[in-house]
Symmetry: C2
Subunit: 397 residues, 2 copies
């Protein structure tokens, strides 16, 4: 018995020491959420001359870029305390999922005390949640949970196996019920992981369904870059630096072969395979894809959501591609009818004007839609809200 | 048409600028795998006085700890080039999945040019793969892929829903076949994500199955910390600093309620629900769990794998807990018979002696086992190899 205790102690002590974090690692708590919803950042960097935190909880700053001045995340200095730890405490923050980075002597990096990170294209930032209100939809709550599967589907049209993320609602596995399907598309630089990690889709759906605000539904998150088989690091290309624009992303191939995804879903899941039970929505480039997919499959979706959509009709003068006959197919879609064509954009979005022009085009042809204008720009904070607002409107009898 | 091009260009240019990476970010390529399998690290930190890289591709170094001198990952200096970028090129490296961090003026952090990271307890490090030989099992190859599902199962015994990771082999969804099951358990500080991220389980199984070396099987990766409902950040506790030892990890509750997991798997998946088609294996604490679960369910598993097992019998003198009657239950397990009891450990593992003593105990009671001794210590590099060697021995007729 004594021997066992010695081994147990050795085990715990040795392991604790063996953690890489302790070889020159952090011993501070960061970020710390205080009672008044202020947040304290701490960094143990005794040799640094200056430490800043930059994140979307700070007022945005103008940054010089080759395109002129643009809004970038704000920055603020941490103050070094006697014990060498750098500290900054925010004002009380509104409920939200925030992201941030540290800048140590001009070098931008992650917070070593915070293991929670999200990747946006090639950038990895730390995250934290200030709970309450809308942000409670982003938290894992004590409610029934759906399943997230990371699968590969065969695309005969694209001649390859491709990765796809699929959310099935709580209870899916233990029922015989058939479910409606939301196809949810990412933006440029994203992939099949983006809506799950940056968009908190599983948490939002779990919570909306638990509250009875959204119908139980399957959410299908494909990869919209047909040049990829999967997200960076998850596919046959191995590890490489993700790019914002990947080849073959907006050349019509994705839209033309979207039927492979629908076929896969409808032959692999218990779904209601009719127009009334199909929705498609996407952010930015995914809004562009949703616009085009819904018109070239003009009798397929009863619910269409364009979130900060990149409006680029790309009329194809050859008349052969999926971008040809834009007005004709849109009119066919309108004539076939649908229950909801939902357009949302932020007042400060650089695509605001393009969306305004697109709405004018719809108005001119008498094509009905609903329109929501939010604050802010072309940011995930808006897309999480749009999903939270869009999902409850779907599949109502 | 012109307008569309302008919008497209604006879209691409604005987005590229809007990437957070470009607000003070990195423009260097790191790590870069060279033709001779050497690797070049680069860091853009013009104001730094000293930059080092530390990782498991370098010879280990002795580090002073309260437990005495221990092996830690080696360190080496980067040299600053004229253009302010710091650089280090390794010798040609053997094929392997490596992890590393930068140390900038004594501050340990991630490589901002490399978005590929893994979390080990509370430490996040960058990773890269030098391909070839064993390491090719860790890469996503152009072979049929299984599905990885992140689900929640109900544990009546623990009175909560808990998260679990499940790998189903290629073709599972489109067959009527029943499959054998490997229950694969993580170590202390790990969770239901550890074998997938650090252990490369999905890649190893995909590749072994494609080569015909392993039978198609389901791999079930539960969370062995019964105080948690899910991995840090994925459960109802939200974001917090993961600990190496969590409460209620080695108190018998996990072992006692393991039947909830088996029941869940066998009622939710097409499995061959008999002893000949059940295997259980785990690393470190998961080896401890596998040892105890297999003897307290003494006629349940035909294959048992102890990878660098924490051997702590914890004989319960009360005679009531799962740790009581150790020798008796072990003998029952032996008498019931099994096909493989596999013990593997590294020569430098701090649990080497405890495993040696356990083997002596098995020898004394005549309990058969197979034993493999590898180089190295208590590290994931060994556990990936053990899984790669163990899986092909399972479920052979």
């Amino acid at each position: 018995m004594k021997n066992h205790i010695v081994v147990a102690l050795l085990f715990i002590a040795t392991f604790t020491q063996a953690q890489e974090a302790l070889f020159g690692g952090q011993q501070v708590s960061s970020p710390e959420l205080n009672e008044d919803n202020s947040v304290t950042f701490r960094l143990n960097a005794p040799n640094a001359d200056a430490v800043q935190v930059t994140g979307d909880f700070l007022p945005s700053e103008k940054v010089d870029t080759p395109m002129g001045q643009m809004d970038g995340p704000g920055k603020v200095n941490l103050i070094q305390e006697k014990d060498s730890v750098w500290v900054f405490e925010t004002e009380p923050l509104d409920p939200e999922l925030y992201s941030y980075s540290f800048i140590v002597d001009g070098f931008k990096t992650t917070d070593p005390a915070n293991p929670f990170l999200i990747r946006d294209v090639a950038s990895v930032t730390n995250i934290f949640i200030v709970p309450g209100k809308q942000a409670d939809l982003y938290r894992v709550q004590d409610v029934p949970h759906g399943t997230v599967a990371s699968r590969w589907y065969d695309s005969p049209g694209l001649e390859k196996e491709r990765k796809i993320s699929i959310y099935t609602p709580p209870g899916y596995e233990n029922s015989t019920e058939e479910y409606p399907v939301l196809y949810l598309l990412h933006g440029a630089g994203g992939d099949e992981e983006a809506w799950l990690s940056l968009g908190r889709t599983a948490q939002i759906l779990d919570n909306l369904i638990a509250e009875g605000r959204a119908k139980p539904m399957i959410v299908v998150m494909p990869n919209g870059n047909v040049g990829q088989d999967a997200a960076p690091g998850a596919g046959s290309e191995g590890y490489y630096t993700p790019q914002f624009m990947t080849p073959e992303t907006m050349n019509g191939k994705y839209e033309a072969n979207f039927k492979d995804i629908i076929d896969f879903v409808e032959s692999n899941y218990r779904v209601k395979a009719d127009k009334a039970n199909r929705a498609i929505a996407g952010l930015s480039m995914g809004g562009y894809h949703s616009l085009h997919i819904s018109r070239i499959y003009p009798d397929t979706f009863d619910y269409i959501g364009l979130f900060s959509a990149a409006i680029m009709p790309r009329d194809d003068k050859s008349g052969k591609g999926v971008y040809s006959n834009f007005d004709e197919t849109l009119k066919t879609q309108m004539d076939n009818g649908y229950k909801l064509y939902w357009i949302a954009i932020g007042k400060k979005d650089f695509l605001y004007k393009a969306n305004e022009e697109y709405r004018a085009k719809l108005d001119a042809m008498g094509m009905p839609y609903e329109y929501v204008e939010s604050d802010g720009g072309h940011i995930w904070r808006n897309w999480r809200v749009y999903l939270s607002d869009f999902a409850p409107m779907l599949f109502k009898d």
